[in-house]
Symmetry: C2
Subunit: 445 residues, 2 copies
């Protein structure tokens, strides 16, 4: 039975109020799959199914933000409050931020006091920081407990925590003293003290740390969760590995889109975003890049005479100019990604520029040789010489522009990933036109 067929039968069961049948047909489904099913059913039926799912708050967390908001509009206020109350604190705060003022005001009074406080606190952190993605549900222990008491505590805390595999040892002022893993607890003697067992070389992050940094720290140390503290050392939350994976994927998407001169965040859906929004995310760069092209045009206009006298030059124009842009795009791409993964740092710039010069020399040399052969057969020795010299210069300049642009952008407080292929190409094109026609004007007259 295919998935579409299954959806059809499920929808049919729901339309006919055969709720038991419907629930039974999805009982082995995982939350992520159930969220897909809910997204594809008509809203009326998916709302009915959602309300009766045993793990409905967990499934609800897996829905895309716009789908969550759609449900929030149609669910009875009490049902919505129950679902929201059962959600994990970070997912709850995310949902809340996506609701409009009216929806927020309708929801708040229906929630418990603690949940309201939690939402207020978590939504107060700036987007993109550790605070905005952390969860306030983590297991805590006191240092004076024994291992046996600690395990009992974790059993009690389990329903209200995101994970019991790590527990954070706090003092009276909730300052973070150490970490113990459930593995340590299981392997340790029952009467050992937590204070003696806990690891004290804790990796942690501050609430205002960039979410990308948080994700990188979790990946670097292979952590299950990273404790988040304020500047007094007081523990305020945890970021778990699965949130770190989502952040890493979002950051990769944003860098990727920037590299293609699309000015968008990772939530932009090619399939669902409004046409006007897609237009708006792209037109900005397209118009901006016009200036680069106009510069190329001015360069060509300036050298009109040499072009008219040696029309063969026009034939090679796209090749020379294009090669510089292509080589520059490659350099920028390598540099932007290496900066993003932490393979290189801004302080390495001089060293990298030296290496890049060598690579550029080899690339330029290869391309110069190839183009001079073409030039000899289509023109003469002088044309071949002009082409070879121009190609070498243009490719080398392209590489150095591509390599330097991310650093220059960073200097001006911009994201180095904005050194997109189209931007590099535009700059290299203008430079290439000038270099080529200047060399030609010197050697051919």
């Amino acid at each position: 039975m295919g998935f579409n067929n299954f959806l059809y039968l499920l929808n049919d069961a729901l339309s006919n109020q055969h709720l038991d049948l419907a629930l039974d047909s999805v009982k082995t489904f995982r939350a992520a799959d159930l969220a897909d099913v809910l997204t594809q059913l008509p809203l009326e039926n998916s709302q009915l199914l959602l309300q009766h799912l045993p793990d409905r708050a967990y499934v609800f967390s897996y829905l895309a933000p716009e789908v969550q908001v759609r449900f929030a509009n149609v669910l009875a206020r009490q049902t919505l409050a129950e679902i929201v109350g059962e959600m994990s604190s970070d997912k709850r705060a995310d949902l809340f931020k996506n609701l409009n003022k009216q929806q927020q005001n309708a929801l708040l009074p229906a929630l418990a006091q603690a949940e309201r406080e939690d939402i207020r606190l978590l939504s107060s952190y700036v987007e993109g920081t550790a605070g905005a993605i952390m969860s306030s549900e983590y297991a805590t222990l006191k240092p004076e407990l024994s291992v046996k008491e600690a395990i009992t505590m974790l059993r009690l805390e389990a329903p209200d925590t995101e994970t019991i595999y790590f527990a954070y040892v706090l003092d009276e002022a909730r300052k973070l003293l150490g970490v113990v893993s459930l593995k340590q607890l299981i392997l340790a003697p029952e009467n050992q003290n937590i204070a003696d067992l806990m690891a004290t070389n804790i990796v942690s992050a501050f609430v205002e740390t960039d979410q990308d940094e948080v994700a990188k720290t979790i990946a670097r140390y292979d952590l299950l969760a990273l404790p988040i503290i304020d500047h007094q050392g007081v523990m305020v939350g945890i970021v778990t590995y699965d949130d770190a994976m989502d952040v890493a994927s979002e950051e990769a998407t944003e860098d990727f889109l920037k590299a293609g001169a699309v000015n968008a965040d990772s939530k932009l859906s090619l399939k669902f975003a409004p046409i006007l929004q897609l237009y708006q995310k792209r037109v900005y760069w397209l118009v901006f890049l016009v200036f680069g092209s106009l510069l190329s045009g001015l360069g060509i206009a300036h050298f009109e005479d040499i072009i008219a006298a040696h029309i063969v030059l026009v034939f090679f124009l796209p090749l020379l100019v294009g090669s510089g842009g292509n080589a520059g795009s490659q350099s920028a791409t390598l540099m932007v990604r290496a900066l993003a993964t932490g393979d290189v740092h801004f302080k390495d710039w001089f060293y990298l520029l030296g290496r890049e010069s060598l690579v550029a020399l080899l690339l330029g040399g290869t391309m110069a040789f190839a183009v001079s052969v073409l030039g000899y057969f289509r023109g003469d020795e002088m044309v071949a010489l002009v082409l070879a010299l121009s190609m070498l210069t243009i490719v080398m300049m392209g590489c150095l522009i591509g390599m330097s642009l991310p650093f220059i952008l960073n200097r001006f407080g911009m994201d180095p990933a904005s050194a997109s292929a189209p931007l590099v190409t535009s700059i290299c094109d203008a430079t290439g036109v000038l270099v080529y026609l200047f060399i030609a004007s010197r050697l051919l007259f």
Copy 2:
């Protein structure tokens, strides 16, 4: 004390054989940080330090592959065998694959029989599959055990497993029956049966599943580990979430580099890779793209007369042609990333092409308006008309080319991510030249 100062003192201590002092100064370091320290010390001293680290095999796993090989060359065979013996099975197999034949033959006899078998098995899987990244150290339980017995079992198995937070329930033939988490075990009554407790709606992957798929599955279901089975349902390994994070990062890097027309895998280090290797990863695409540029050149040569008659056309050539390439790069970028994240699928092509046509119409219209104003002031109404018509056509064609290229590449069995900005730009450039000069030749004569 800065890090460089610390390194200097540590190196000094090691040079003077003050091993206790050296070990004491790094005792709070985590494995990932120790690996950094080892990489930056002179080989002789870092080798000395490594040998005496309490968690040396774990630290060794964090070293970059080329650094591991360097150590393998200088460590005494017995020491190397001990370290390799203590490594986790997946890291051990990776190291082994990086050694040359001679090093492999020297190492193998010094290892225990079980480890040799394990290396043979794990290195036999194709690179890029689940088999090649999985670990064979996981906790297993029998279905007839009680919860109390199971916890005792996990305590015994703990030293030899990557995680005890999940245990896999296998039958006599090692077929995978279910999964229990340590959390479930801690919360369940001591005398409950594992068979009754275990979850049976298991998510798993086959040994030959693509590593990218494995990473996506782990991210989708927020798993700590994914069991890997063969086609008889026999369990052969697990892939843990930290390996999935590494794979996701590698895949993102590869796609990113492809988008910039760099033909490299994620292991290419901009800082350490030999110059010739960097050259070789780039020259292939640069030379290939020459053909696109030559096509543009031929187009220009073909329309020489119209250019000579209306030299103002040359001024606008880079702008028109460039805008098509830029719009096309944006489309390709959006499409390639959406395919990679699973936001869209190949079957959505027609639907997406429809949406893209609308976006392209808006983008082309905006650009056409802008360029026609410029054209009116630099030329006349007819030039403005030629420019507007050309711009609209070129931007729309660029968008449709950029959107379609990933699908076409996929049709021919190539990676859609190879639809790089430079490739799209080259194709759009050639198309743009022809469209522009054709329209001009029709309207201006």
